[in-house]
């Protein structure tokens, strides 16, 4: 057999007990590895901030976002009503969930109002000026 046409390997890649360098190790240690935050922003990029529920279990009766909408630099505020189709965002586990929750909050801290502002300025403070009236439903513990 003419071995000049291909290279005979005496070993396989990645077998046990062989030290393999991380593909990106060089970039990691030199600071050259690029993460999303390292990519230059396009001109006109908007900054988003998320308003979070302060109540673990409660019913959203009304959300008053006027103060947020009228804050300087705010372009658009979204709530669950703005999601077309099925409001189901994949979560980290097996089941997704509605974001922002349309009516009933089931855990403390789910986002209910992404706010987009900018460009150029700092995003508005999450939660600033928001007032969500909540009513503890009989089925859930009262908010404390």
């Amino acid at each position: 057999m003419d071995t000049s046409t291909f290279e005979l390997k005496s070993d396989i890649n990645g077998r046990m007990h062989v030290s393999l360098k991380h593909d990106s190790a060089h970039k990691h240690v030199s600071g050259e590895a690029e993460y999303i935050d390292d990519i230059p922003e396009m001109a006109g990029t908007l900054h988003g901030a998320v308003g979070l529920s302060i109540c673990a279990h409660g019913e959203i009766v009304a959300i008053d976002l006027e103060a947020v909408r009228s804050a300087p630099g705010v372009v658009r505020v979204f709530t669950g009503k703005d999601v077309p189709g099925v409001n189901d965002v994949p979560g980290g586990g097996a089941r997704g969930g509605p974001v922002p929750p349309p009516r009933r909050g089931e855990s403390r801290g789910p986002p209910f109002s992404p706010v987009f502002a900018g460009p150029g300025g700092a995003p508005p403070r999450p939660g600033a000026g928001e007032k969500a009236e909540k009513k503890a439903s009989a089925a859930f513990p009262r908010c404390g």
């Binding site: 991380h22 240690v29 600071g31 935050d37 390292d38």
Partner: protein, 488 residues
């Protein structure tokens, strides 16, 4: 010369005439210089992804220390050498030995925290010739890794310690003389004033100038290490008004020990104070090791820790128990205030708006005194006290309590003495029976609050138990749990 912030960034001379007082070094590096190897993680000086080295002249010697760029204000870098991860590799892209060791030992996985670890290891490597395992662990609490794990990183630190800085491959060693000369030329001693978009910053050249500035602008925010004030900006988005940076003031950098005690300038960092304090008051050594991470210890000052009046500041309880006082300076002169009465109420200290903290005087306890200080936190390193108890006991020949000073943090709106406990113990025999009986007195001295660090009940019980712990240790029964002898 025009008023400007002047420093060296890696190899470049930087002159900035337009700097907002709250602009951070991290934003400057990433957004303006596009040096994106320095990462933003927590933006509060905890995770260390933003770690860079800052070289500065300390008593004429060029010292490089790791700091958190996220809470370090750009203006505070006047007269320093800022070194980022981009400066390490050779011109041909060859990795620095620190970087190579991290690759060889598999010290990265997702890689986001890695530049920060590289810089912390670099700081350790420059300052410590043969680091022990404990030295390495103490250099790394301020860097959080959540996927690789610390063992490969610690192995990298051990591997690289076989190499010492050489001008062949190390840029800081190669350019040390040059950088030193350039930094000397930036030390003018003149006051710098910069106004940008209506926001003012001042860098006083002398303490006299600082007093003048404060007389003009008593509402200004004085910033030393910015390990607290930095978070007012990055987390609370609080406006600071005019900012006065004092970290550059060499007059506030001195720490002196005499037979009477130790005088600590308001600009002395925890790292700078460590040797002197732990030589004269050994109980403080393991305590200082548990303040923040290495980057915070390299920036934060004892003066700032006192001046900001936090009820959970680390240093006030031991300093109060030792009978320290604070030296306040204004145009009208100077005055000494005992530290225990300096803290008046939550958010209220005995500093007039036109005064600044110039130094702290810590009397040396007699060698036969028992001194103890205990910090109770949810995790051992880089955490804030739930409760901190400090004790300074003098026993008479007949084993009765001649004098005792006890102070706690986290038990009231201010760091506070346990005056009823002290009074109960004074003159009584120093026995377990006395100590157990004294515990009721805590209910007279303190009514702690419940917050996310601890409940009121936990705090009260812990405070009582710490007195018992102090008793046991003062009678030769160590109570601390240690993982490594040297680390704890």
């Amino acid at each position: 010369m025009t008023d400007a912030i002047r420093f060296i960034l890696n190899g470049d001379d930087i002159t900035l005439t337009s700097v907002r007082p709250t602009e951070t070094l991290l934003d400057y590096l990433r957004l303006q210089r596009r040096l994106t190897g320095t990462k933003e993680g927590c933006a509060e000086g905890d995770c260390g992804a933003c770690t860079v080295l800052v070289g500065r002249l300390v008593d004429g010697v060029l010292v490089y220390e790791s700091v958190n760029a996220c809470i370090r204000f750009l203006a505070s870098l006047h007269g320093t050498h800022v070194v980022t991860v981009e400066h390490l590799a050779g011109a041909n892209g060859a990795l620095h030995p620190i970087q190579q060791a991290m690759v060889d030992c598999h010290g990265s996985q997702c890689g986001f925290c890695t530049p920060g670890f590289v810089m912390s290891l670099y700081g350790l490597w420059l300052s410590t010739e043969k680091p022990t395992r404990a030295d390495i662990e103490r250099a790394l609490p301020g860097n959080l890794c959540r996927c690789t794990g610390y063992e490969p990183i610690i192995r990298a630190a051990e591997q690289v310690s076989a190499t010492r800085p050489s001008s062949i491959f190390d840029p800081l060693e190669r350019n040390r003389t040059d950088i030193l000369a350039r930094l000397w030329t930036l030390r003018s001693g003149e006051t710098i004033r910069i106004e940008t978009d209506g926001e003012k910053l001042v860098i006083p050249g002398t303490t006299g100038a600082l007093a003048e500035v404060l007389a003009e602008e008593p509402k200004a925010t004085i910033v030393a290490g910015s390990t607290d004030v930095g978070l007012w900006v990055t987390k609370q988005m609080r406006p600071l008004g005019t900012v006065i940076f004092i970290n550059n003031l060499s007059e506030l950098q001195a720490i002196h020990a005499s037979d009477r005690g130790i005088s600590i300038g308001a600009g002395v960092t925890y790292s700078q104070a460590l040797d002197t304090l732990s030589t004269h008051i050994p109980a403080l050594k393991p305590f200082i090791h548990r303040i923040g991470g290495e980057q915070v210890r390299n920036m934060g000052t004892i003066g700032g820790n006192i001046a900001n009046g936090s009820p959970i500041g680390d240093t006030p309880p031991p300093l109060i128990s030792l009978g320290s006082s604070v030296n306040l300076h204004s145009k009208a002169g100077t005055r000494m205030v005992p530290l225990d009465i300096f803290f008046i109420d939550y958010g209220k200290q005995g500093r007039r708006p036109d005064e600044f903290v110039e130094s702290i005087f810590v009397p040396l306890p007699p060698a036969e005194n028992h001194v103890g200080v205990y910090k109770i936190t949810k995790r051992r390193d880089e955490d804030i006290s739930a409760v901190c108890g400090a004790f300074n006991l003098s026993l008479a020949d007949d084993n009765t309590v001649r004098a005792i000073r006890i102070a706690y943090g986290g038990m009231a709106g201010t760091p506070k003495r346990a005056l009823s406990v002290e009074a109960f113990l004074r003159g009584k025999p120093w026995t377990e029976e006395t100590v157990l009986a004294a515990r009721d007195q805590f209910d007279r001295d303190y009514k702690p609050l419940t917050d996310w660090r601890a409940s009121a009940e936990y705090r009260q019980l812990t405070a009582k138990n710490l007195l018992l712990r102090f008793f046991l240790e003062s009678t030769g029964t160590p109570q601390g749990l240690t993982r490594f002898e040297e680390v704890a």
